[in-house]
């Protein structure tokens, strides 16, 4: 595929015109995965056989399906999203061998749009983590520097797009799991508004925070995938009936007249490279006609403690379903001396990794008698104050700008024994989940060490279109996505 720019748009066009076939595209990507992924470990499963079948089907129906937005486009699915008849493990030992009997709504919509599902991607176990180090399949490596983490929890999805192993990945974002790895791997990541995309078929982590969204090379591609998966779903009662704007017809990006809020003192204590990139990006948007407005988010400093009480509390409840009865791992027990309780307890101890256990413990504690008011209720109250801060800000601005992360990708092993240090890195991403607001991370240059840096915009509820327009405007001026990580080991 020499000379190919690897985007959805060009791939689809060349399949449509007959310049190439979906089958050839599929083979090219599978060959590339075969040669590169041994080292990266972005995939938990490569679905060669079924991908070839889907690609053939696309080629057979090419003319009849010409309006399908992802015709012949290979897409990967994070391994917390169910795809029928293929493994879905949540990167956990407790779901080893599980094959979903149904497609998640988002997967069905991708298939209906002509996409070819080529694999399931690696992540932190049950999407709990910021580094993909907490996976039963081992860490995914950052394509830009193999000694570093790709971010998390959707590290495999980000690495796959960055290394051109797929033009698009679907992932989930509960506290930054799409945006932070997108920033660390130099790709675009969109977390839609809560309720915008169906979670039917997503392994639930924290149900008031979880959302599914795309990771792609360009903003336009993110808009295409987003438009494909968005909309109400009767299988997910939390989806909204708000109409979905046709962002696929986005047109060129536009920042003219946009009012962008910049939280006061946002750059305190963050990495110099990130600070430089953030200011340069704001500079580009200003040149394009945006106005910067100072805003106050007085409760932002509390977002991390709120998140790390609310998310584990919900997780401790959601993960109660993994008990060895209906699916997944079951511990061996003595049929004479052991009972059902022992089977539950031992199954969960053997099946869950350390980060998942830590969060279940933390969440159980925060919900337990005597501590519920001091931890969970207090966190929920502060959460509503954080939401009020944003409501107030959006009276004056169309979008809020922040770096995606305080620094670039850290080294494998750097924070793995210090969970609190790992959690603190999520300072800029968790607010979008706590408030339900949409947010996008776009590539915004590189550190002095050549590591990608992300720029984040948050928007009003259901106003993904403004985020995409602004991000596209910046991308036209600064097309960082065209810089590729090398295939050689670094």
């Amino acid at each position: 595929m020499a000379g190919h720019d690897w985007t959805i748009n060009t791939l689809r066009t060349s399949v449509l015109s007959g310049e190439t076939t979906a089958a050839d595209v599929c083979e090219d990507y599978l060959a590339r995965i075969d040669s590169v992924d041994g080292d990266l470990n972005a995939f938990t499963a490569v679905l060669g056989e079924s991908a070839r079948q889907q690609a053939e089907e696309v080629d057979q129906h090419r003319d009849a399906w010409r309006d399908r937005p992802l015709l012949g486009v290979p897409v990967t699915i994070k391994d917390v999203i169910c795809s029928k008849g293929e493994p879905t493990t949540g990167a956990s030992r407790i779901l080893k061998g599980f094959c979903s009997p149904y497609d998640a709504t988002v997967v069905r919509k991708l298939r209906d749009a002509g996409a070819v599902i080529i694999g399931k991607t690696n992540c932190d176990e049950f999407a709990m983590g910021s580094s993909t180090e907490h996976s039963a399949y081992g860490v995914t490596r950052n394509p830009w520097d193999r000694t570093r983490i790709p971010g998390g929890s959707s590290g495999g999805a980000a690495a796959a797009v960055s290394a051109r192993l797929a033009p698009a990945s679907l992932a989930s974002d509960t506290g930054g799991s799409i945006r932070q790895p997108a920033a660390f791997c130099g790709v675009v990541g969109l977390k839609p508004t809560y309720g915008r995309v169906s979670r039917y078929g997503l392994l639930a982590f924290a149900s008031s925070l979880d959302q599914i969204g795309p990771m792609t090379l360009t903003v336009r591609d993110a808009a295409t995938v987003f438009h494909t998966i968005a909309g109400a779903d009767e299988c997910d009662a939390t989806t909204s009936s708000q109409p979905v704007e046709d962002v696929a017809q986005l047109g060129p990006g536009d920042a003219k007249g946009a009012r962008i809020g910049v939280p006061r003192n946002i750059l305190e204590g963050i990495d110099d490279d990130v600070s430089r990139s953030f200011q340069a990006t704001l500079g580009v948007l200003t040149e394009q006609g945006a106005t910067l407005i100072d805003i106050d988010l007085p409760h932002m400093a509390y977002a991390i403690p709120v998140y790390y009480l609310v998310a584990p509390a919900e997780a401790s409840s959601n993960l109660a379903r993994y008990d060895g009865v209906r699916y997944g791992h079951r511990a061996a027990i003595d049929a004479h001396s052991d009972n059902l309780e022992t089977m539950y307890d031992r199954t969960r101890d053997e099946g869950f990794g350390p980060e998942v256990k830590r969060r279940i413990m933390l969440g159980t504690y925060a919900l337990s008698a005597g501590y519920y008011d001091a931890y969970y209720v207090k966190a929920q109250q502060v959460r509503s104050l954080i939401k009020s801060d944003y409501d107030q800000a959006f009276n004056e601005v169309d979008a809020v700008a922040m770096p995606t992360t305080p620094g670039p990708a850290f080294r494998i092993g750097e924070h793995v024994d210090d969970p609190l240090a790992m959690y603190l890195g999520d300072i800029f991403t968790v607010s979008a989940n706590l408030t339900g607001l949409p947010a996008i991370s776009v590539p915004a240059g590189f550190s002095e060490d050549g590591l990608p840096i992300g720029f984040q915009l948050m928007g009003r509820p259901f106003d993904e279109a403004t985020l995409l327009r602004l991000a596209a405007a910046y991308e036209q001026e600064a097309p960082w996505w065209k810089t590729r990580p090398g295939d050689e080991k670094r």
Binding site: Y194, G195, S240, R330, T364, A374, K378
Partner: protein
């Protein structure tokens, strides 16, 4: 609020969470949970009198669908992933009483 966590605290939570932890895990979690909960103490600085704890990101009431019979998973498909499918289309579990 308590800190640090005792091993008894950790054992009590592990029992509630249905986790059979090893001795090493109990030590580790006692230390790490105390550290994380210690950090979360800063929430107590925030004035929250009369602030609702019920805010949720969903603004619409859930839509109802007609109460009609529909296709669902077959018994066979539902048992496909069972670690110990029993006879007669059931999940087999260890004894519950005694």
């Amino acid at each position: 609020m308590p800190s640090p966590l005792t091993l008894e605290d950790v054992e009590r939570i592990a029992a509630l969470a249905h986790l059979e932890l090893t001795a090493d895990e109990k030590q580790l979690f006692a230390r790490q949970l105390a550290q994380i909960l210690g950090y979360a103490e800063r929430l107590q600085e925030v004035e929250t009198t009369n602030v609702s704890a019920d805010w949720r990101p969903v603004s619409e009431t859930a839509a109802l669908r007609p109460d009609e019979r529909r296709e669902s998973l077959s018994n066979e498909a539902a048992l496909d992933n069972a670690p110990a499918p029993g006879p007669g289309g059931l999940f087999r579990v260890p004894r519950v009483i005694g």
